[in-house]
Amino acid sequence: MYIKRLNTNLEEDALLTMIDRVDTIKKNKEINTALHEMIDRYSLKNAAYMGYNMGTLTQAEPYASVTYSDDWVKQYREKSYLDVDPVLQAVNKSILPIDWQSFDISNQKVRRFFNEAKDAGVGRNGISIPVRGRNGDAAIFSITTNAKENDWVQFKRQFMRDFQVLAVHFHQSVLVANDIIQPKYKLSQREVEVLYWTACGKTGEEAALILGISKRGVRFHIYNIMHKLNCTNVTHAVAKAMYFNLIKPPK
């Protein structure tokens, strides 16, 4: 079923749509909704995000948002699998994505853990991607599928990049949703110019004249800016852009 998707243009769309989706997350509960949405888009079995070193938020235990069944989460807690799960042990050790197949299951505890996970419907195979943040914050982002051996190899080759990207976007969103960092806004040079002249009190027509672009062009940029900054009107956008130092205060 994964091979079939190779021939469609779905992949790029799935990634871009997911990035947009994840970047607009403002509350913690939306993280889990977005994980479920990702599962649907990529035909996954499960997904899990675990965050570390985020100050008080992760003091007692890692920040977790998972799509596993309630039973498995309960079992995981009751048996203190936080201390056994080799995926979690890996987070500070490696920067490479970890294929669950490569874990050493000669350790009886680890073997039992994976067997129970399989029985609980976690998924036939999985990868975990370590994330490193700017301030010592870190995360481990896992996805699982029920793909057969050959399909799994193909799936990894095709989508590893998507999940690397999504892992970081989910991580950023968790930080934003918990007020650990401010959302990052980035405007293009042209958008900055348009917004600057608007902040100076110029009309759309005047801004167009100054910048040598069409009135429509100015309006297009304004809409883009409002979308990027998540604002409802131009005044809001100007205020927000100034607050985040995206434009200089007008002279």
Partner: protein, 213 residues
């Protein structure tokens, strides 16, 4: 071949890692005279404490370490952001899940001499192909690096030309560049063609070990 070691495994592989630090001291301190810190003959910096991934070029027969490179994600602390931000124009940064940074690319004296009929040495070819192969495993699009003019030529000769980003700058005695290297099956193919390498350079057991951390 390329032997992978996680920074977190430095005690288990202390011989390999120490040889790497010794070679780095010989290259960056003794020969290039960069402002790097050497203690007990070992060149180390703060990025070595952040559990990077090391690519060690190992002699297949003797097991001797002959050169190395170091990889770090650009989403966390890295040299371009924290040491050389001036190489990029105002407030531009390289921070991406699919771009890692390569640094401290080096090899023992003599190991840079090309084999007969080749443009670059075996160690150079292995390290460059190894970086590309690891990038493919991790799903990267590019590897970013800070380097000097000598490296620009070496990369070109290895079939992996750099796309220079930002403004080259004189740092100390050297013109210093920031550049991107493509990671793709096609890029790997070009490296293999240019260097005569056949098949993977990665030592398979070290790959399995690092993938399971």
């Amino acid at each position: 071949m390329i032997f992978l070691v996680n920074g977190a495994e430095r005690d288990q592989y202390s011989y390999h890692i120490n040889t790497m630090h010794k070679i780095r001291a010989a290259v960056f301190y003794d020969r290039l005279q960069w402002e790097v810190k050497v203690e007990n003959g070992l060149e180390k910096d703060k990025f070595d404490d952040l559990n990077p991934l090391y690519l060690l070029s190992m002699d297949e027969i003797t097991g001797r370490i002959r050169g190395s490179a170091r990889l770090l994600p650009t989403t966390g602390p890295n040299m371009l952001r924290d040491v050389f931000p001036s190489l990029l124009p105002n407030d531009e940064i390289v921070e991406s899940a699919v771009i890692w940074e390569s640094s401290r690319f080096s090899m023992e004296p003599g190991a840079e001499t090309p084999s007969p009929g080749q443009l670059v040495s075996q160690v150079t070819a292995e390290l460059i192909a190894g970086i590309c192969e690891v990038g493919l495993i991790a799903g990267l699009t590019d590897v970013v690096s800070v380097f000097d003019a000598r490296m620009v030529r070496i990369m070109r000769a290895s079939g992996s030309p750099a796309t220079i980003i930002g403004k080259p700058q004189r740092i100390g005695a050297f013109m210093t560049y920031a550049g991107l290297f493509e990671v793709s099956e096609a890029a790997l193919e070009n490296i293999r063609k240019a260097t005569g390498l056949e098949g993977s350079v990665l030592e398979p057991q070290s790959v399995t070990r690092c993938l399971a951390a």
